[in-house]
Symmetry: C2
């Protein structure tokens, strides 16, 4: 499977899955960093330097992708992830702001 499947459309996004995905601090960190960056920014999984193994990183990014929060595109050797900012904002307005606000506070662990 080269690139896109498992990328739900905006209407197919489920709040339960989104909240479950965002319940993990590592995944929240990823989304927060993406949300804090410029729109459309594409980053590799490894660029986040998560304190877990490669297999676990893959697992977290899969969870985010299946929840509809990020979009992963194969780019030859690597794979770039982008935040589905417009889709999220349309479907769950204000959600990203909550995550960014978390980072603006004490932030803390992961």
């Amino acid at each position: 499977m080269p690139d896109e499947q498992g990328h739900p459309e905006p209407a197919e996004m489920e709040l339960g899955k989104v909240l479950s995905a965002l319940a993990d601090p590592l995944r929240r960190l990823v989304v927060r960093e993406l949300a804090a960056g410029p729109d459309g920014e594409a980053r590799t999984c490894s660029s986040f330097a998560l304190p877990v193994s490669k297999a676990t990183v893959t697992h977290h990014f899969r969870t985010l992708r299946e929840a509809g929060l990020i979009c992963q595109v194969d780019r030859g050797n690597s794979r770039k992830a982008t935040l589905r900012r417009a889709d999220i904002e349309q479907r769950f307005p204000g959600l990203l702001a909550l995550l960014v606000a978390e980072g603006a506070r004490g932030d803390s662990q992961a």
Copy 2:
């Protein structure tokens, strides 16, 4: 408030705990019903008719309380739960709207 332990102040609410609490469809149902009702409405745990045992209901309400989403007050024989609407709205603006919007759609917890 003589009773309250386990009721975090607004500033003490953690997004992680809130999202984890809201990741469960039963708990989301409770908050959604409370949010859809009038402000300050006090309901007993049993009034939600959750399809689980009493012990499980207690567990869910404890989770919601410790996340800071509801306030439970002993009222003699029973115990009334109220949504901490203002606190939630101040700390996580727009969050309740997302839950209510979920109910307005296809709904049905799963």
